[in-house]
């Protein structure tokens, strides 16, 4: 992207988003009536990338709506005529329209509406005979059907099929292709050297994030600074997953044997939610992540804190819990930096207590859910690879104290 474009683009995006915003407000208010308050709408955007896509959506939405209404109106014409004719038939008994029938067709015994015939004939040379007439065979009818005027019928066929089926759609589709390609270019994933790189690795059924610049490892809650270009390098440990935060950008799959790039910047601080978007097995529905956008200085502080080794247990009870962490095999899978636990299979727990959610974003990080996760991981999330652990209460309480102290 050259300098000039870079200068112009944000304005265009903002304009697009404002427009999108008012449409979104309209839609949202309409839906509030129905009791909906979407939390992760792709139209309620916080990033220029999603903003551009939302602007594109409103363009194709209105265009599509117009096309649909026009086609349905065209369909309504013969339906309406038939209904009238049947009504007239019931009233008059002869199945023909009454003399005051405004929709008198050219097949009417009284002849076509006089005003239209010459006009059609005048325009016939221009409009009604495109390259080749659609069909010059005589019109075949059921023996008992009424025959419409052949010329008028040919005109209708030409107009509907040539203009409605080929010429207008071609123009609309070409316009759309231009709009699609413009948006594609503005939201494309083009990594640059100065981006903040984060490696995101999909697992069944959680997300691992590495910050190579900060030496930070975390899970399921991916912190990013606002107004900074973020470059996610997406890969997977096992099956195909798909990374998606609707309010930020579209989804990109995580595929074995390759690394996919995703580039975006977030403009507003906040916690943005997103499901795994590629079916990945039994707990696919419960594989959620949050993108936590912070002001750059807050992010810096967060990263410093996360890069440090785990806090030392402060109470006697927590120290006891640290022993339980090893005794009950937690350390076989989970890493706690600084405490000699190097598991590497499950999520890194070095700063577990700083996260707001558990089990890939499906439960709040509190003592109650932590207990459930340890004792009955399948109760919280069927298909969870973590085995259930039998722990008596006197050992569980210290363990929970220890885990809650990992700040």
């Amino acid at each position: 992207m050259n300098v000039e474009e870079a200068h112009v683009l944000p304005q265009r995006i903002r304009a697009g988003r404002r427009r999108g915003g008012s449409h979104a407000a309209l839609l949202v208010s309409a839906l509030l009536v129905a009791g909906c308050d979407p939390r992760d709408s792709m139209l309620d955007t916080v990033a220029p990338q999603a903003g551009d896509i939302a602007a594109l959506w409103w363009f194709i939405f209105w265009l599509g709506l117009v096309v649909y209404v026009v086609v349905m109106a065209l369909l309504a014409v013969p339906l309406w005529r038939s209904v009238r004719r049947r009504r007239a038939a019931r009233a008059g008994g002869d199945g023909r329209p009454s003399p005051d029938d405004g929709a008198r067709g050219p097949d009417d015994p009284a002849g076509p509406t006089p005003a239209t015939a010459p006009r059609h004939q005048r325009r016939a040379g221009v409009l009604a005979s495109p390259p080749a007439a659609i069909e010059d065979e005589p019109l075949a009818m059921a023996p008992d059907a009424e025959r419409p005027d052949d010329d008028a019928d040919r005109r209708v066929r030409s107009r509907l099929v040539w203009w409605g089926g080929i010429i207008l759609p071609a123009i609309i589709l070409f316009t759309l292709l231009v709009a699609a390609n413009l948006t594609s270019r503005s939201v494309a994933h083009v990594p640059e050297d100065e981006d903040l790189v984060i490696d995101v690795i999909g697992h069944m059924f959680w997300w691992e994030a590495h910050y190579p610049d900060f030496d930070v490892v975390t899970a399921n809650e991916i912190h990013v600074p606002t107004d900074t270009r973020i470059h996610l390098r997406l890969h997977t440990e096992d099956v195909i997953h798909s990374f998606w935060i609707p309010r930020v950008h579209g989804k990109i799959d995580m595929i074995p044997g390759q690394v996919n790039d995703m580039v975006f910047e977030v403009e507003e601080p906040g916690r943005y939610r997103g499901h795994c978007a590629e079916y990945c097995g039994i707990a696919h529905a419960q594989m959620v992540k949050f993108l936590v956008a912070q002001e750059p200085d807050e992010f810096e502080a967060w990263a410093q804190q996360q890069a440090a080794p785990a806090a030392e247990p402060e109470t006697e009870q927590a120290l006891e819990g640290q022993r339980m962490f090893f005794q009950y095999g937690c350390a076989d899978c989970h890493t706690v930096t600084g405490h000699e636990a190097v598991g590497g299979v499950g999520p890194d727990l070095t700063h577990l207590a700083t996260r707001e959610s558990l089990a890939a974003g499906i439960a709040p990080n509190d003592r109650e859910h932590l207990t459930e996760l340890i004792l009955d991981p399948w109760g919280l999330k069927a298909g969870n690879p973590m085995p259930p652990t039998q722990i008596p209460d006197e050992d569980l309480e210290p363990l929970l104290d220890y885990l809650e102290g990992l700040e």
Partner: protein, 644 residues
């Protein structure tokens, strides 16, 4: 009323000799007595009816699964079925509807009606045709039997690797799916070969290529597509089964393979597949429309050209299912353009439907209501289809409920509605029964309202971040109201389908009125023969003079000897089933071909293949050996001259 002479009247003999011949012909083409006779029947009408009946039952099963899923998703944090069952349900719902309902149902319609419409007495290879049905039934039962063993496939109807590789799916679930699908695909390919040969060689004299009904054109195009689309999936599934069973690494990135290879093979099949399901349904809709409007389909030639164009273009779109896999933007943009292109022939077809109705002479039978419903729904599905062909927009809505909604608007609008309309329209010729209009219209209304209520909200759900294939969702995401509405809609549609089924059953009760030969004033020659069609279809050879032989006043049944070429097909000769074969383009009579009848070997061959498949499923080498030997034996017996 027209003063045209109506020479194409009923196919009835005029002499005592003719009546006796008719009786003898009926005997010759009838099934052999007894249960084995019933099993060994291979006449296209028996096979077609079996396809239609079986596919209808599968539809009810697949529909019930959909309602279980909607019940689970009606409210947040529901535990009505649970994760494992839900994953099996959505996998089997998709697989059943795609492999066991729509394609076999449409194939049933083609196999039953195309020979009738073209003036033939049977498919060109009746025993192969019967084999196609048995393979479909065998594959379908094989797939469904997985439920009995608690091992129903659970990796989606798309079966993406590596989730379907042995390491992530060690049970038999996927083996059931892969082997069943291979069987069904073989059935599909076999049927497609039949239809293409039928189309080019078994048309009535005079039915030149430009006089073939649109229904038959659409059947031929869809079948030709099957010939190109299904083999890649057969290969793909076999490679995956090799990966699973003997540890090859076609799809294993660590072993030098590529998981995306599966997606390319699958969608090379999968995208044309949706058009394979759409195009014959368009043919049904066109047949209904021209009869309900009492006139030829407007822009007949452009419509046929559009159908052919769709058939060709649909092979250039498969990557639009794969925009998010990391293919570079330039390549995906080409697929956007290609996807847009297919909107043009589709638009031509929709406009031709409207132009046909334009002068407002529509008879609003239930069948026509379904066609109107088809246009209303399908056009919306087409518009969202253009939307999702745009790369960045698809990045947002891909694998969300937006796609679920789009896909059902296209498939239910484009396939199910014409099929239901087709039942109303064609049932007289199929079984001699007629469905009630009153009940039919109620069922239509419920289906139409229920469908829209079920699927329209799903567009919005997708944009609100609801991904596909999730068995639960938590409260507070703003999805509750729309999901509840969607579930309510699915129940309404369920009642609609139930009413339709009741109507269908009532039509076949003993006291129900029987249908006349031509209840609707049809345009194509199947309406000239009895309802239901007699065993031999036509006693006298039809001679076709236009695309609407019933209306043109010139087409006729040829009495023997009155045409220079006419051999005596109106009487059984040498005790052999005979049909007249004509030239490919001009339908000039070429020669008389003898067709085989009754045979149990297609059934035995299917059973032998099933034994082989069960052997593969259970890793039982003995069974595999027995199955293979039996396959060769059955095939040899089938082909042995003189063996019946």
């Amino acid at each position: 009323m027209s003063d045209q002479p109506q020479t194409f009247q009923g196919d009835q003999p005029h002499s005592p000799q003719g009546v006796a011949d008719r009786e003898a012909l009926d005997q010759l083409w009838d099934q052999q007595p007894g249960f084995t006779g019933w099993l060994g029947q291979c006449n296209h009408k028996a096979v077609g009816r079996r396809y239609i009946f079986t596919a209808f039952v599968f539809m009810l099963v697949g529909g019930a699964m959909a309602m279980l899923m909607r019940t689970q998703l009606a409210v947040p944090d529901n535990d009505f079925v649970g994760a494992e069952t839900f994953n099996q349900l959505f996998t089997m719902h998709g697989s059943i509807m795609m492999f066991l309902f729509v394609v076999p149902m449409l194939k049933g319609f083609l196999i039953y009606f195309m020979p009738l419409m073209l003036g033939a007495r049977d498919m060109p290879m009746p025993r192969l045709n019967a084999f196609g049905y048995w393979a479909f039934l065998g594959g379908g039962l094989f797939l469904l039997s997985s439920f009995l063993f608690g091992a129903a496939p659970d990796s989606g109807w798309f079966a993406y690797v590596p989730l379907t590789r042995q390491e992530f799916n060690p049970g038999l679930n996927l083996d059931f799916w892969l082997l069943g699908v291979v069987m069904i695909e073989i059935s599909g390919i076999v049927g497609a070969i039949e239809v293409v040969v039928l189309f080019f060689r078994f048309r009535a004299p005079g039915m030149t290529i430009s006089r073939v009904p649109i229904f038959a054109w659409s059947g031929m195009v869809a079948s030709a597509m099957i010939l190109f689309a299904f083999p890649p999936l057969v290969i793909g599934t076999l490679l995956l089964e090799l990966d699973r069973k003997i540890g090859t690494a076609f799809y294993d990135a660590a072993g030098g393979g590529d998981p995306l290879l599966w997606q390319h093979l699958f969608w090379w099949f999968g995208h044309p597949e949706v058009y394979i399901q759409l195009i014959p349904a368009l043919g049904i809709a066109a047949a209904i429309t021209s009869v309900a409007c009492r006139r030829r389909m407007a822009a007949r030639t452009p419509v046929i050209a559009s159908v052919v164009a769709i058939g060709i273009l649909s092979f250039g779109l498969w990557v639009h299912h794969m925009y998010a896999v990391g293919i570079e933007l330039l390549s995906t943009s080409l697929f956007t353009a290609a996807s847009f292109m297919i909107a043009i022939p589709s638009g031509v077809i929709v406009m031709a439907f409207i132009a046909t109705m334009w002068w407002g002479r529509i008879r609003f039978d239930s069948s026509m209501l379904y066609v109107i419903g088809f246009i209303v729904i399908f056009v919306l599905g087409g518009i969202t289809g253009v939307m999702v062909a745009i790369v960045p927009f698809d990045w947002q809505v891909h694998d969300t409920y937006f796609i679920v909604a789009h896909m059902h608007y296209v498939m239910v609008g484009g396939s199910l509605f014409p099929i239901l309309g087709g039942f109303h329209h064609f049932l007289p010729k199929l079984t001699g029964a007629m469905m009630t209009e009153g009940l039919g219209k109620w069922a239509f209304a419920l289906n139409f309202i229920g469908f829209n209520l079920a699927f329209f909200p799903q567009h919005i759900l997708g944009m609100f971040g609801m991904t596909r294939r999730i068995w639960t969702y938590e409260e507070g995401l703003g999805w509750e109201g729309l999901n509840l509405a969607s579930t309510a809609g699915s129940y309404i549609m369920g009642i609609g389908i139930l009413l339709f089924t009741i109507n269908l059953l009532l039509a076949h009760r003993r006291s129900a009125p029987r249908a006349p030969a031509d209840p609707w004033g049809g345009d194509t020659i199947e309406w000239a023969t009895d309802s239901p069609a007699p065993n031999f279809n036509y006693q006298y050879v039809p001679v076709v003079e236009s695309p609407e032989p019933m209306w043109d006043g010139r087409s006729r049944f040829a009495e023997a000897g009155t045409e220079g070429w006419a051999e005596r097909l109106d009487q059984p000769r040498r005790g052999v089933r005979e049909n007249i074969a004509t030239t490919g383009l001009d339908a000039e009579p070429d020669h008389v071909i003898a067709l085989p009848g009754h045979s149990l070997w297609p059934l035995f061959l299917t059973i032998a293949i099933m034994v082989f498949l069960v052997g593969v499923l259970l890793d039982a080498v003995g069974l595999i050996g027995i199955g293979l030997v039996a396959c060769v034996g059955c095939a040899a017996a089938w082909l042995w001259p003189g063996v019946e």
